[in-house]
Each structure stands twice: as C-alpha cells, then as structure tokens.
Assembly symmetry: C2
Homo-oligomer: 314 residues x 2
C-alpha cells in the first residue's frame, strides 16, 4: 500500500520537476534570445526602408538585400509586416522551443541566435533529453498495467483467448485507438484551426511530430494573429507529451507481441523479458476490479518483475 503511494508520489514529483525544468529553460531562452531577436528585427526593418528608398533597384542590390532577408528568416525573424508583431522568444514560444528540444523533436522553426543560446541549448538538452526519457519511462511503466496487462488478462479470462491471440487482439485494438485518438482526431482539429493546412498536411504533421522527426515545415500556432496563441502552444506541448507516451505504449505492445511470436529470437534481438514469463504463468482468477491496482502496487518492489523497454520500442 505504502509502496503504491510512494510510486505515484515519485511520479508526481518527476512530472512537477519536469514542468519546472521546462519553465526554467523557457525563462533562460527568453532572457538570452529576446534582445538578440529584437535587434535583428530592427536591423531588418532598417534594411527594408533603405532598400525601398534607393532610387534604382538592380539585380546586385536586390540579391544583397535578399541574402540578408533569408539569413534573418533562417533564425525565425521575418521581414513581412504581419509576422513581426509576435516574438519567437516570448515565454510561451520559449517554453515550446524548450519542449521540442528535450523531446528531441526539434522543429527548428526557431533556433538560438546567440552563442550563449547555443551553448545553453547543449547543456539544457544534455540534462533534459535523458530526464524526459526518465519521466516518459516512469509514466509508461505505470500505465502498462492499466493499458496492456489489464486488457490482455481480461481477454484471456473473459473471452478465453490463448496468450498469442490475446496479445494480437490487444495490439490491434491499442493501435486503432492510438491512430484514431492521436493522429486522426488531432489532424481534424489542426486542419480546422490552421487555415492553410489540409487534412493530409495535419496527419503529416502529427506523424512527423510523434516520431520525433520534427521537420518543422508545419508548426502549429505560427500564423500571424493566432487567437489564444500561448494556450494553443501549451496544448500542443501536452499533445506531444501524451502522444509520445502512447507511441511508447504501442511499440512496447508490438515488441511484446513480436517476442511471443518468436520474432525477437529469430532476429537474435533483446527480449521483452519478464512480461512474457508473466504471460506464460497460469492466471489467477480475480473476482474484483482492484486486482490490477494490487498488481501495480506490488510490481515496483520486485526488481525481477520490473518492466523493461528496449530501444527498438522507439
């Protein structure tokens, strides 16, 4: 009982510290990069005025002008008037940047301009990336009982499926739920909010994001005059975190199924370990719903029964 509480208090502590770490990063990035961005914005406006005031525009002067415009654009500073109102380094945007850094998504639609910002990015990610993996692993580990062990055990007891069939049916259902809940539905929402995104664009964004590829050709909340921009950015961060958790769960379920079907042995790869043992053990009929809770509370105490995630799950 007390270990169950300890486990959840530890997880809550992890999540709170994670949020604090993101806020700290956002504050530092904003402090470092905001003045550099403001200067670049002023420079680019002066450049534009000078260009407009010159008597004749020739190819060379245009190219020199465009070179500097594109350079500024690379750092997320646009010369266009409607995009100069919002900053890339206000608190919400910095928080979003910090989040894409530690989750290794890295859209790169805004990047640090200053050497201090680059150096801080290195140190921030050096601690932040493993820490994010720690928090995600801790969350997934505690969700496994609810999302994987519970349903599989139920399929076997209630419907009488054998372990192989139960794991396959569970995987199929989980995949369907994740595809609908974390790809299709968010894509509908994104294509509704973002005027210029088609449904394919939105699905492409969801996929590129949740695989942590993060190409950055589509980034939510970047259109000029976006309503509730800060709230929108934070919602996308929550979507990203929960979505990554679900991706782990799906890949873990896949790895587990591959194990049971002998694929990992065939490819001579690491096994999913003790889960399989658990599946091979006779199931004790449980008449009350608290069983999984009891299992969850007992598990973390026994190192041999701990859930193990393989890199192949990513």
């Amino acid at each position: 009982m007390s270990s169950w509480y300890k486990s959840w208090i530890l997880l809550t502590g992890f999540i709170l510290f994670y949020v604090a770490y993101l806020l700290f990063g956002a504050f530092v990035f904003s402090t470092i990069e905001r003045p550099v961005e403001d200067k670049l914005k002023r420079d680019i406006q002066v450049l534009k005025e000078e260009f407009l005031n010159q008597s004749c525009v020739n190819a060379t002067s245009l190219e020199n002008f465009l070179e500097r415009v594109l350079q500024a654009n690379k750092y997320g500073v646009s010369i266009l008037p409607n995009s100069s109102a919002s900053s890339n380094w206000d608190l919400a945007s910095s928080l979003f940047f910090a989040n894409t850094l530690v989750t290794t998504v890295g859209y790169g639609h805004t990047t640090p301009l200053s050497d201090t910002g680059k150096a801080f990015s290195i140190f921030y990610a050096l601690l932040g990336v493993p820490f994010t993996m720690l928090v995600l692993t801790a969350c997934v580990q505690r969700l496994m009982h609810l999302v994987t062990y519970g349903p599989i055990s139920m399929f076997r007891q209630k419907i009488g499926l054998d372990p192989l069939a139960a794991t396959a049916v569970h995987f199929a259902i989980l995949l369907l739920v994740v595809v609908l809940g974390f790809f299709v539905v968010p894509a509908v929402v994104f294509s509704y909010i973002e005027d210029t995104w088609s449904f394919l664009d939105a699905i492409y964004f969801c996929f590129i994001t949740l695989c942590t590829i993060g190409l950055g050709d589509y980034v939510p909340g970047e259109k000029p005059g976006q309503n509730f921009r800060s709230l929108y950015k934070i919602s996308v961060m929550v979507y990203l975190f929960v979505g990554l958790m679900m991706m782990y769960l799906v890949l873990r379920a896949f790895h587990r199924m591959a194990d049971l079907h002998g694929l990992t042995s065939f490819f001579q790869l690491p096994h999913c370990d003790e889960d399989i043992e658990e599946d091979r053990e006779p199931i004790i009929e449980a008449g009350h719903e608290d069983q999984h809770e009891v299992e969850a509370s007992a598990k973390p105490l026994d190192p041999a029964s701990q859930t193990s995630y393989n890199t192949i799950n990513r």
Copy 2:
C-alpha cells in the same frame, strides 16, 4: 561456431538491406520531388525578373514579392543565384534526407513539396524508423561484448577492481572516448570544412544531431559550390549512424552503472536485467584472449542472457 556466423551474417544482411532501403527512399524522393522543385525554381526566377523590371518598387509590391520568396525558401528553394545550381533532391541529397527521416533527426532544411512526397514520407518513416532502431540495436548488441563486457571484465581481472568501481571506470573512459571521437574531432573537421561555422557552431551541430533533435540551423554540405558534395553528404550519414550507435553504447553503459549503484531501484525504473547478474557472478579466470569471442558467440543463443536496452537509454 555456426551460431556466431549466423549472428554476423544476419547483421550483415540487416545492414545491406538498410542501405538498399535508403537507396530506394532516395530514388523515390528524387523522382517525386525533383520536378516540383524545378518548377518552383523556374517560378521564383520569373518572379525575380518581373520584380526587377517593374518601374517603381513600393512597400506593397516588395512585401508580396518577399512573401513568395520566403515561401519558396521554406521548401529549400533559394532565390539567390549561387544556390540555384545544386538541387535539394539529387540522389545524394535525397539519400541524406531519407537518412535524417529514418534516424528521426529531421533537420528540415529540405522538406517534401508535393502531397505525394508527404504521403510517401509517412509510409517510408513508418517502416524506416523501427527498422533503423532494429539495425542499431542489433549492432549495439554485438558491440557490447567488445566495448563493455570485455573492458569491464579486464578491469576486474587485471587491476582487481570491484564491480562498482570497474563499471564506473569503464563508463568514464567510454564517455571520454566518445566525447573526443564523436564530438570534438568531428567538430574540428566540420569547422575546417564549413567556412562559416565556428568551433562552437560545429560542436552544437554534432550535439543537436547525435541527440536526434536536428534543428537544421546547421546542415553540412549546403554551401554553394561545395567540393565533393555527394561524398561529403555520405560521410556525414556514416558519421550519423556510427555516432548514434556510440550514443546508445554510452547510455547503455550509464544505465548499467545506475543499476549497479541502485539508482534504478531508487527511482523504481526498469533494470538493465541480466548484465547485472553477470557482474554479480564469480568471474572465471581466462588465460587466453579469445574468451570474449566465445562469450559473444554463446550469448545470442540463450534468450535469458540477451542484452536488453531500455528507452531511458535514448
């Protein structure tokens, strides 16, 4: 003996199939995106000529012009004359794009322009990302004996260190080797080859790449008139693959050390499993150097002794 061969033939098969998969991706991306890129390039040149030919340049016409320039630039098509010679979708660049997609680095300095390209990216990454993880896991698993078990066993036998100290010393040495060999030395090389990169820029690039963040503000081989561009791009791909492998090895060694020092138990996280058991077993004195090779050949046969990588290792 035959299982040792089987293990290495399987790995060679994996790597060859991986290279074939990358080449296939490069060929498809190049076929799909090259015509779209060519059209955009022609459009942007026409736009530039029209802009230069107009009698007076006012703020509105300049802004309309810049909006289209920045839009094209987002897709990697630059209006500047010196960058129009090379394509983002020739075979080497497409190969580089395919590689950054499946390793989840995703610089995003070039992104698919067409809907077909976006849809293909989704399907390509859907298979490619897990496949890359499979190949990396298979490589790391076979390297562990050489890079981790061997040296640790040596420290214990030859120097007489206890398991905790041997693991800590091994981790410190491995970390130093990786920092020097995969961050400092490549950064020196990159800052030498890329004229505009400082040493900090190059270290920042190595770090952002090997963490698979891939912001894309620094991408090698993108300067106009780059010598041996294709060869350079392919070398960066090899650096990326081997570098990712070394990152796995370091994080695996860290996780192993954390396990032995009781950190994973403290945080109630998954263990590194059987490696620890191995460390706790009495070591049999081996007089000949072939011992680790024998270990390597015996290991993959026994599922219980297989190496397991946790997500926290990423």
